[in-house]
Symmetry: C2
Subunit: 344 residues, 2 copies
């Protein structure tokens, strides 16, 4: 920061005190119009920008919010959420500090400490693991809003997705097409979103009087490979191949689709497939997957609203502002060509 002009710089040029300049620039009622005009012109000329760090230091405020994610892009949706957060924050004169933890809890904690030290007023964290005690310790009294699939509903500030709702919509969509033999394909257990999908799926199926079938592809990662594995399990089972499949993620769905086609089954002719997350598929004409879109824009805006409410009104002021500390968002179904009527 090569030294920029300060109030003092302008004060000297104008032959005033720095206090008068400060007041003039902020349109204080006790400065003459003439002085104001003169000061503002000078400020413009020298390219004055107030030092917000100094201002915040005195006012005991913050004009930044922090955000920490496991990674940007890389098949997460945090890039899209960030776009919304950045815009919503800018409209309210807030900057966003962003940190990518590369899925390392150590780096994640380090980002927390650095951001707290750098005076973020609140943090929005998509943690890379479900245990967030170290994160909360590192943040001390700075409020933390959790987002993402690792978070349970017990955190004081959390924006969650209602994957049970996805399950209900899936079952409604598929039964509406005449399907009765429907399987859910998931992977490794240590994932709260998966658990919700499984529970929601079982519940929705039972409500329709159908038997839920859940196939877990071992401890595979969330990849296409898991989808292929799950389909292998399905095909090698004694039971007939279901007429419709819901996959816990889009990559699984792609993998499952490949495996089915490799076995001579057509999608959606023989088997309908539903995914989850709507990853970039708008761009690829080959992949016409029926899937779920999570409302990124709403989540981003809500995160900023909550963060700034916490900064401006404090942890106890939320209720006055009618701000819910915990909010749940419902994914919505995007119907494309991978689902069709049941033919068997």
């Amino acid at each position: 920061m090569p030294n920029r002009p300060t109030l003092k710089t302008i004060a000297q040029m104008a032959g005033l005190s720095h206090v008068a300049v400060s007041k003039a620039l902020r349109d204080a009622p006790d400065i003459s119009a003439a002085t104001k005009a003169r000061v503002k012109k000078l400020a413009e000329q020298v390219g004055y920008t107030p030092n917000l760090a100094a201002r915040n230091l005195y006012l005991q405020r913050s004009s930044t919010i922090g955000m920490i994610v496991p990674a940007m892009g890389d098949s997460t949706a945090y890039d899209l959420i960030f776009n919304e957060i950045s815009q919503a924050a800018a409209e309210l004169d807030f900057c966003v500090m962003l940190g990518s933890s590369h899925r390392s809890p150590q780096l994640e904690e380090r980002h927390c400490r650095m951001m707290v030290g750098n005076q973020v007023g609140a943090l929005i964290v998509a943690p890379c693991a479900s245990n967030v005690t170290r994160i909360k310790a590192a943040c001390g009294t700075t409020p933390v809003i959790f987002i993402g699939g690792k978070i349970g509903p017990e955190e004081p500030y959390a924006l969650l997705c209602d994957y049970r709702h996805s399950a209900a919509l899936t079952v409604r969509h598929l039964t509406g097409l005449g399907h009765r033999d429907i399987a859910l394909l998931t992977y490794g257990p240590e994932n709260l979103t998966i658990l919700q999908k499984e529970e929601g799926f079982s519940q929705a199926m039972e409500q329709h009087g159908l038997r839920p079938r859940i196939i877990r592809a071992g401890h595979a990662e969330n990849t296409m490979e898991a989808g292929r594995q799950a389909v292998s399990l399905l095909l090698s089972a004694e039971a007939p191949v279901p007429t419709a499949i819901w996959c816990a993620s889009d990559y699984m769905a792609i993998g499952a689709m490949h495996a089915l086609r490799a076995h001579g089954l057509s999608v959606p002719g023989d088997v309908s497939i539903v995914g989850h997350d709507n990853l970039y598929f708008d761009l690829y004409p080959d992949i016409r997957l029926t899937t779920f879109r999570t409302p990124m824009a709403e989540i981003g805006k809500a995160a900023v609203r909550l963060a700034i409410a916490l900064i401006e009104y404090g942890e106890n002021g939320l209720s006055q502002q009618n701000m819910a500390p915990r909010q749940s968002f419902q994914p919505f179904l995007v119907v494309r060509d991978s689902t069709g009527p049941a033919c068997r």
Copy 2:
């Protein structure tokens, strides 16, 4: 920021002055070991984190760098570059303020002003338009490092990609496979990266004694549609269809591939295709496009190195540090299955 403990808090508890506490925590040589231990323990207990804004204010330093991009994700590569920047910055105790301009010059400028006000020491900007005068004005004396395809080589601090090199590699790769009739497919002109690709292509072809053929798909956006349009132009021309095609972007390449196949031509059997940018295709088994990868990791690291050098040593201190203010990065070819030997 609910008021956190400060040096004064600890000083009162320890019965010392806040100055002694400050020194103790920073291991000053003139504080007794006993006092240091006592102070550090207290600091730990109360969860003390130094206020970096106050420290930086006094020291006239900055511990944050800013970054502004047109958008995260959304088929840009800035998400990947950011991941690198975030990590490299964290290793040097710097936080990153990130802003997404949503491709709006107004919002872009606003982000600049806000970040400069919030005391970023340097800015890394991928502008949304080629004219960057307003950006530089908004940043005042804060140094700006430009990245991305909108930037010409005249900016004082810039990290660029050498698309001429891509052209040379493409022509070398394709001629090595026996191709002699090679076309470059581009779109609307107002893009510096396209110009470089066109120039580089012409030059490389001529060096191989071949006639360069360049098809511009009107003013289409950088989409698959442009690829389809360009192929239509190729097919309706009198000249024979080339045996190999280089597309200015991966989306064009996908579009071109589709259009060719729709006309009964196989890839790479009849026509080889090369793209540019390597967008997510590792994840899609169907798309085995030969394309270019730009060295995101290197660009990110270089950006941080340059930014921090500018912060620590100033604009005149770069030469001492052997830091080049302008650097060019060479994309490298990723050979997959969309290119093969020429058969005609």
